[in-house]
């Protein structure tokens, strides 16, 4: 079940309770009026988070979790490099590491089996065993190896898959799909993850967007990120120098569109879709198509562009269509009410 499906099932009454960790769907999921209704409908909601985020406000119980610098463990980067994160400070107040909170809940539910680790290292040793022989094989990775080599790329098997001999010095795999590489799907037939070891070109047929442009909504709305904010902004909207770089979302538009609509750079501007509207300042730039507007998504409440986005999802990846829906834009009469109000964390 994907993240959006959880909310459809809440809406259908199939899910009545929710425990979330570091989850802020009121900012990060599309058509968030629906998300709000679902969160309000939940009979019981527990949120584990390091700050009181915009979704945790709907929770019945909030359990203060930990930041990365308050815990230790490993992270696999996007390139498949496993790196070590070291603990720098203790959790403040009653906050505790997420894995400790989860184990305590399991204990309280009298279901402690498999949830009785004493340290992140013990959890990592479990991951080594669990991943052995798989595509992302951690079995040959140790914390010592990670620290000595500035990270180790998976797969890194503990035993040679062909001979079964121990491989304590396996260096990991900085580059995947090398000619004679071995993986658990092809079993030596070739380097790619298919039984014959060959790669495939997948044909993707074009499909019109679910909420395409029309006479009524003639422009494309596309959403995305800015460099100074991370995900739903729970951390980065609290850091002064990052807020200063890009303090609030803006509607990026091309000068030709701006001229047609009588909008100048910095003017308060309203964008509307079938699901909602938002009023933000315009940012007039030639680095965008004239038939498209762009708004970054990291903000909550009336500054959230996900009030406008469509909940349609890709049938395979389940990624929502954040990048396209029909919208219309006009100059606003003046600043919106929120403009004079600070965000809760400010």
């Amino acid at each position: 079940m994907d993240a959006y499906e959880i909310f459809r099932k809440i809406d259908a009454g199939e899910i009545r309770g929710l425990l979330s960790i570091c989850f802020n769907p009121m900012v990060s999921l599309p058509d968030n009026a629906f998300i709000r209704r679902a969160l309000e409908k939940l009979e019981f909601y527990v949120a584990i988070d390091f700050f009181l985020n915009d979704s945790a406000r709907f929770a019945d119980i909030i359990l203060p979790g930990s930041l990365q610098e308050e815990d230790e463990g490993v992270v696999a980067q996007v390139e498949g490099r496993v790196i070590k994160i070291n603990k720098a400070v203790d959790c403040p107040g009653e906050a505790r590491q997420d894995w400790v909170i989860i184990q305590d809940i399991a204990k309280a539910l009298e279901r402690p089996h498999g949830m009785q680790f004493n340290s992140p290292r013990e959890i990592f040793e479990e991951l080594r065993i669990a991943s052995k022989g798989g595509i992302a094989d951690y079995s040959g990775i140790t914390w010592e190896k990670v620290e000595q080599n500035m990270g180790v790329f998976w797969p890194c098997p503990s035993h040679d898959p062909k001979t079964g001999e121990p491989t304590p010095d396996h260096p990991g795999t900085p580059r995947l799909f090398e000619r004679d590489s071995y993986n658990s799907v092809a079993k030596g037939a070739g380097p790619f993850y298919f039984p014959d070891g060959k790669a495939r070109f997948n044909v993707a047929d074009y499909r019109v967007p679910v909420d395409d442009i029309s006479d009524e909504y003639p422009l494309f709305l596309t959403t995305g990120r800015v460099v100074s904010q991370f995900l739903s902004g729970t951390q980065t909207r609290r850091i002064g120098p990052l807020v200063k770089q890009y303090p609030e979302p803006r509607i990026e538009m091309h000068p030709r569109l701006a001229e047609k609509l009588g909008i100048k750079n910095q003017d308060w501007t309203t964008a509307e879709t079938r699901r909602g509207s938002i009023t933000l300042r315009a940012m007039v730039v030639t680095t965008i198509r004239p038939d498209t507007i762009f708004v970054p998504y990291h903000w909550a409440g009336k500054k959230s562009i996900n009030q406008l986005t469509v909940a349609a999802q890709d049938p395979i990846s389940k990624i929502p269509q954040y990048k396209v829906c029909g919208c219309r834009v006009k100059k606003a009469d003046g600043p919106p009410e929120y403009a004079s109000v600070l965000e809760p964390q400010q």
Binding site: V227, P241, R256, L257, N265, V285, T286, T287, P290, D291
Partner: protein
């Protein structure tokens, strides 16, 4: 003293605008909360290209020459230090005079502060903070041999033309090798004039380096898009 063989090299072409240098700089204890490096958009209304601006550490620093309080000192290793607090009167002469736009006056503390190449670090052979975090080596601190090996197509240049004034600096800018051989000088004033001309018709001509001029007409990539 900064070791003689270590130099600062800026390669603005490689800047991806990630702001890591700005964040790293602003966390430093000696000027906590303020970044001494400026990451500027060249012209955000037309491009997302950014350029990192640090103190170039001029051999004859204009900022120091115009300072009425003699608050800006250049150490023997060529590093131009930030204003000396007991002397600085926050008049802002240096802000006006610096050809690279580096110094800033902080009104709340009545003091000019600027990049000092992380003197606490570079004076003992460590990289300045911005150069330690730059993921694309747009900011690089090391030896000439290292940069020549890393960037075989470019040459470090440290002479800049501002009208009639030629300024030489401790910090190098990377320019294409062919252009630098012809005339190893970045003509800043010429580049500024050209940018203004190129604004409305989308013609971009480049004579940044020496007297080489290349003109290219950049077609509007969205000419076919109807509004």
């Amino acid at each position: 003293m900064k070791p003689d063989n270590l130099h600062f090299f800026i390669d603005p072409n490689r800047c991806i605008g990630c702001q890591a240098c700005v964040q790293a700089c602003s966390e430093c204890d000696t000027h906590r909360g303020e970044s001494m490096i400026h990451l500027e958009y060249v012209d955000r209304s037309h491009s997302v290209q950014t350029v990192p601006v640090i103190c170039m550490h001029c051999d004859q620093p204009t900022c120091a020459e115009v300072c009425p309080a003699d608050a800006i000192k250049r150490t023997g290793d060529g590093v131009v230090q930030s204003a000396r607090k007991p002397r600085c009167i926050a008049c802002g002469n240096c802000v006006m005079a610096c050809p690279f736009g580096v110094p800033e006056v902080y009104e709340d503390r009545q003091l000019m502060m600027k990049c000092d190449m992380c003197y606490d670090r570079s004076s003992v052979g460590k990289k300045p903070m911005c150069a330690t975090v730059c993921p694309s080596q747009a900011l690089f601190f090391g030896t000439r041999e290292q940069i020549e090996q890393m960037r075989p197509q470019s040459t470090p240049v440290n002479a800049f033309q501002f009208g009639n004034q030629t300024i030489t600096t401790q910090v190098f800018t990377m320019v294409p090798k062919a252009s630098a051989q012809q005339r190893p000088l970045v003509d800043v004033t010429a580049a500024m004039n050209e940018e203004a001309q190129a604004r409305s018709p989308r013609d971009v001509s480049l004579s940044v380096i020496g007297n080489r001029t290349a003109t290219a007409t950049v077609a509007d990539p969205f000419a076919e898009v109807e509004v």
